[in-house]
């Protein structure tokens, strides 16, 4: 099913080296209409990967294709919407002025009516300076601005990480509604993993510059287990990672577990659990 869809973003043998950090992505493809989450701790390499995709920094090796193009030129930039963790519009401007600016930048694509209507729907003032807005209002403005030029690829880099849970949920719902309505492809990076479970079709777990796991929320629910087994028992074949507790072993497992001489089995894990076991546990396979 996925292979029939158009590839929007394709990465092959990507490498970027810093003094004390290396990002290495052998391959990653994102298909049209997908919502893909990049999760990982702060400093895992999520923002570096996004900067590389957007050509904000140069790669050392490999290939990145966005809309089948190796370079992010002006027509391709028109098709990409990006929302960062902080609003980059000057606080001295008001939304009416921002609209004048952005409609002259996204000349062919800016939907002024949609922008103004979304701004009003979110209760944002057109006349007040952006500096008077709260963090949540600024994040909403960023998202509305990104939607207003109808991007085919929307990249969100920790876009909702600084927000309170209520605003975060509202924004996530807006994003999900937008993708359902338009078929826009989304790459969403966050260290707040639970929000990605709600909106993403696929999730990539990134750690110390490498993708260590690719999964989906459905797969997490149906194929992953946590089993607490006796400390002296044999390790089951399905075990991925083990964390030693005081008098038992807690195992993250993949697949249908066979008979386990243990205390308890929990079917389905959260992305939080997955990150915890993969980061802190001893990997078995």
């Amino acid at each position: 099913m996925r292979t029939n869809k158009k590839i929007i973003l394709e990465i092959e043998d990507l490498e970027k080296n810093f003094d004390e950090f290396q990002l290495k992505i052998p391959n990653l493809s994102i298909y049209e209409g997908e919502c893909v989450g990049l999760i990982g701790e702060n400093g895992a390499g999520k923002t570096t990967l996004i900067k590389l995709i957007l050509s904000l920094i140069n790669k050392d090796k490999g290939e990145i294709k966005v809309f089948e193009s190796n370079t992010i030129n002006t027509p391709i930039k028109e098709e990409i919407g990006v929302v960062f963790d902080q609003c980059s519009y000057s606080g001295l401007l008001c939304i009416r002025e921002l609209n004048k600016i952005l409609k002259r930048i996204y000349i062919n694509k800016w939907n002024e009516n949609q922008f103004i209507s979304d701004v009003k729907k979110q209760g944002l003032s057109l006349e007040k300076e952006i500096s008077t807005f709260s963090q949540g209002m600024k994040a909403k403005l960023d998202i509305i601005s990104a939607f207003a030029h109808s991007p085919k690829l929307l990249i969100l880099d920790e876009a909702t990480s600084n927000l309170d849970p209520v605003i975060r949920r509202e924004i996530n719902e807006e994003i999900r509604n937008y993708t359902d309505k338009t078929g826009c492809t989304i790459l969403f990076s966050s260290h707040l993993v639970n929000e990605l479970e709600l909106i993403c079709d696929r999730i990539f777990l990134i750690d110390v510059g490498s993708i260590i796991l690719e999964t989906s929320p459905d797969e997490l629910k149906s194929n992953y287990y946590i089993a607490n087994i006796d400390i002296n028992s044999d390790i089951p074949n399905e075990t991925i990672s083990i964390i030693k507790k005081e008098n038992y072993l807690s195992c993250l497992m993949y697949g249908v577990p066979n008979d386990i001489d243990g205390k308890s089995i929990t079917k389905g894990v959260s992305v939080d659990d997955l990150m915890y076991y993969l980061k802190r546990g001893v990997k078995v396979i």
């Binding site: 900067k51 957007l54 960062f84 980059s88 519009y89 000057s90 401007l93 002025e97 004048k100 930048i105």
Partner: protein, 216 residues
């Protein structure tokens, strides 16, 4: 390019030029009316450079907002981003020089202590110095951010020092002879060529520094 230009003008105007411009305009007019040529000539040299220096704060504003990261993902070419800033900087110099032209005309009409041409020579000098100052400032700011203005000031001081040493060592008469014996159009031609080369170099360097600038 228009969008970037509007953003720069609005930010510059709202943050830095609104109040200072009103104060300087009124104070300049009042003092010129009272004192005539000494003030209008001094302002002709200082005001365009001063307004140019104020404009470098746009780079500080960019750093504060992380605007560079935003603008680099927008569908605008690097050349357009840099050229709009050149237009803004040159626009401020031109506006302040036009205002000085007006003040010098007022001063001439009220005091008549010099010829009108003499008044306007100072306006022209102020304009040319401010334009060349911007040619230095912009690449420096694209390379070093708002700190670029300080680096240019230090650079100018060092150049003046070296020039002073140079004047002592070389025979200035040699250059004066060339100046006196050359037809006036040659001097103008040389001046225009120097102006164009400096301008093109400044834009090219600015685009290069902008392209290679690091995004936070």
């Amino acid at each position: 390019m228009k969008g970037i230009l509007i953003r720069d003008v609005l930010v510059l105007y709202k943050r830095y030029l609104r109040i200072p411009v009103v104060i300087i305009s009124i104070a300049g007019l009042v003092f010129t009316l009272i004192m005539g040529f000494p003030i209008s000539s001094l302002l002709s040299l200082i005001l365009p450079i001063g307004i140019g220096a104020l404009s470098t704060n746009l780079f500080a504003e960019d750093e504060k907002d992380n605007w560079l990261r935003q603008v680099k993902i927008m569908p605008v070419s690097d050349a357009n981003v840099v050229c709009s800033r050149f237009i803004v900087f040159m626009g401020t110099v031109l506006t302040s020089s036009l205002y000085m032209l007006f003040l010098n005309a007022v001063s001439y009409l009220v005091h008549k202590d010099q010829t009108l041409t003499f008044y306007f020579i100072f306006t022209a000098m102020g304009f040319i110095v401010a334009v060349f100052n911007n040619f230095l400032l912009l690449p420096a700011c694209y390379k070093f951010g708002a700190q670029g203005a300080n680096i240019v000031s230090i650079g100018i001081l060092i150049s003046v020092g070296l020039l002073t040493v140079g004047i002592k060592k070389i025979n200035i008469r040699y250059f004066m002879n060339i100046y006196e014996t050359s037809p006036s159009y040659t001097i103008w031609l040389i001046a225009i060529v120097i102006f164009l080369i400096t301008g093109i170099l400044s834009v090219k360097l600015s685009i290069f520094f902008y392209k290679t600038s690091k995004v936070q």
